[in-house]
Symmetry: C2
């Protein structure tokens, strides 16, 4: 191909060479990520690149601290032993999910190893957006510092939000349950964090779907829907291995499917949305009416604590709690049938509280699916419970920083050596 | 890149060279299709391929009769005049849509020029699958012959069906309104048609969406939903310029969205599906109850004739007809809001009868969309009427044969010279 390329005229060559160099950096990184530590010879054999080219690529990636020699001898595909090259455990990323009643944090290094993970109760429902953003900024700063303290220099941060997000502009267009309209999250965080940190914002369900696809219970399934099980219920859809975004990045808003014209008013302003039937607030209202959502509570109970209480009551045979999960399971099947008819996924991953109560919800949901969706499709689609609990979106948030780095390694500033100044 | 490639070891080279040759044939064909007749020099300049490579590629494509010299001098991007190379008008494809009450045929050459187009009334509702397939085979044979008579050798045929289609196996898994279950359409047609003809089957809405995306009213819009407006209502969804298929190829089945638990029974067996609210049978039932669908009619009225009758009654101020389109418009908005929340398209293309009555349906539908979908998204999505009427799916069926040829030109047998024997 280089001969043909030369025929195209020298004017375009420097650009082509730069583009090819960047593409080759990405090829090498993708191969190392997919296959673990590999020798330069193995990378050359697998990518079809020349060994001297691979050495030069690895040198550049090492200088950027994105890969390092493992020191291990590794027998590559070409059969020749050599030093192994691995993604760097000294550089990493943070994902933060902000939701109605909690903030979740996940920090990992480039290899995907979890370095920090936590969730704290949080009351976003008071509707004071500025205070909420101040709190978010403080959480971000503490998380980046915590990652750096453990020897991992953060190169980026993604915030997950339950709402419609304009990822290109870094703006949350609408998050009904947070009371947010046109909130410039990225610009707001950038004012207070290190100038060379990459910052992004995305829909929480999208991030969670990416986390599940990359390494969750549905990993290897290229057609899946992830459902957040929180106060709001959102969907992240991956078809053909690719996240669906739609014209504005807003696809997957299953929570606002109208299902009950005589139902309750939703945070979005409509009546009878699906999330008013299956959201966490509805579970709490039905199963533990004595502990319903209260805007004046401070701190609000952690959602996992609320769900544990429901599980305790179910175990004790409490009729209200048993009736609640049966009813919610039926409505899950109703929404699942719509997802099957419209997206035709192989798996519907239940996240958040759905996962915690999966044993009680899935039988009714699966039966509803079989009864409502167009015949044979439904039998081949299964509800499965996420293993990531309430941390899937934060995990996905850290993951997309790594994805982005791999697709454009020269687009990230060289991370400074391990020091808190980088935070 | 060829230098790097050489380092990968000679064992893989022949495969690589063949793969590269095929990829280059496709690059040349794509460029010619997108840009019209172009000189060899222009193709070389635009694709970055060497001129001698381009000449050799064009020779092979000419031998396969897929391109031909136009004889015109054309001033290419490189500024040098030369003989223009164009997609061949001597080779083409046929698309056939079979529906509840009509069969539509579209035949075109590789340049996209329409060569034959017709629609005939057809009664598929009697449920005799074998007779239906016999009729389909006869229509296919006549259409291929008609194309050949006009000097265009057919290389392929795609059948569009209103139902769930396993495109890989060439089987219609379920077409409720035709009464089809697991019908091996491709194998059945292959028994009776020329052995070297490529034959495919796909969902009618998918084919129509591809036709709209390629050259219809929404051409250039990469995020669109096409709605068939027939007795059944199906959706074809293109997001990011790519047709959604899902795990089994069944995505977009919007017609069976449950919207009215107290509604009428649908052909799929469920109650209150969206197509029982907006399908052509419901329009006819509401607007012209004296001319409702009757399984014993033979021949059945052409759907366009039924719709013309409704339009006449609306023009005459008939209250039942006016109420019918107002009610159907409202339900279109209801379904449109679901499509907007789940797929986030920029345009919803109304096909079939919806297009014929668009002036009466769109205002109510657009208002419903704005009222029901999650805020700002809906204002940026518009219902538009297809210009293809009831022929969009057949048009798309011919188009996918051409798409397939361009992506894999060596996968098609060399079309025999212009003769009816090829049919």
């Amino acid at each position: 191909m280089s001969k043909d390329r030369a025929g195209a005229g020298s004017a375009t060559e420097p650009t082509d060479q730069l583009a090819m160099r960047r593409a080759n950096l990405t090829r090498a990184l993708r191969y190392i990520r997919a296959n673990g530590p590999r020798s330069r010879a193995a990378i050359a054999a697998a990518t079809g690149l020349h060994k001297t080219t691979v050495s030069s690529l690895v040198d550049e990636l090492s200088a950027r601290r994105l890969v390092r020699d493992t020191g291990l001898e590794y027998s590559g595909a070409a059969g020749r032993p050599g030093r192994g090259v691995a993604l760097s455990p000294d550089v990493g990323a943070v994902g933060i999910e902000i939701n109605v009643d909690y903030v979740a944090v996940h920090g990992s290094d480039l290899t995907g190893r979890t370095v920090i993970q936590k969730r704290v109760g949080f009351n976003a429902m008071r509707g004071d957006v500025e205070r909420c953003l101040d709190d978010l900024t403080a959480v971000a700063r503490r998380s980046l510092t915590a990652l750096a303290r453990r020897g991992v220099t953060p190169i980026g941060l993604t915030v997950g939000v339950p709402g419609l997000v304009d990822t290109a502009r870094g703006v949350v267009v609408l998050a009904p349950n947070l009371g947010w309209h046109d909130v410039p999250v990225v610009a707001r965080l950038a004012r207070s964090l290190a100038p060379d940190l990459w910052i992004g914002v995305d829909n929480d369900a999208n991030l969670a779907a990416l986390a599940e696809h990359a390494g969750g219970v549905a990993a290897g399934t290229d057609d899946l829907v992830y459902l957040t099980g929180e106060v709001g219920v959102g969907g992240g859809v991956i078809l053909g291995g690719r996240l669906l975004r739609g014209a504005d990045g807003f696809s997957g808003e299953i929570g606002h499917l109208p299902v009950d014209p005589g139902g309750a008013r939703c945070g979005c302003g409509q009546v009878g949305c699906w999330e008013t039937k299956v959201g966490l607030a509805e579970l709490v209202r039905r199963a533990t009416p004595d502990a319903a959502y209260d805007l004046d509570q401070d701190p609000v109970p952690d959602p996992e604590e609320r769900v544990r209480e429901v599980a305790r009551r179910i175990a004790a045979g409490d009729r209200a709690s048993l009736a609640a999960v049966a009813e919610i399971g039926r409505w899950l099947g109703h929404g699942g049938a719509v997802l099957v008819n419209l997206f035709n996924p192989r798996v519907i991953v239940l996240g958040g509280y759905f996962a915690e109560l999966a044993d009680h919800l899935i039988p009714a949901a699966q039966a509803g699916l079989a009864g409502l969706a167009v015949a044979s499709t439904a039998r081949r689609c299964h509800f499965v419970a996420s293993h990531f609990g309430f941390t899937a979106a934060a995990r996905g948030g850290a993951g997309v920083v790594v994805d982005r780095m791999i697709e454009d390694p020269t687009g990230f500033p060289l991370p400074r050596p391990r020091t808190l100044a980088a935070v």
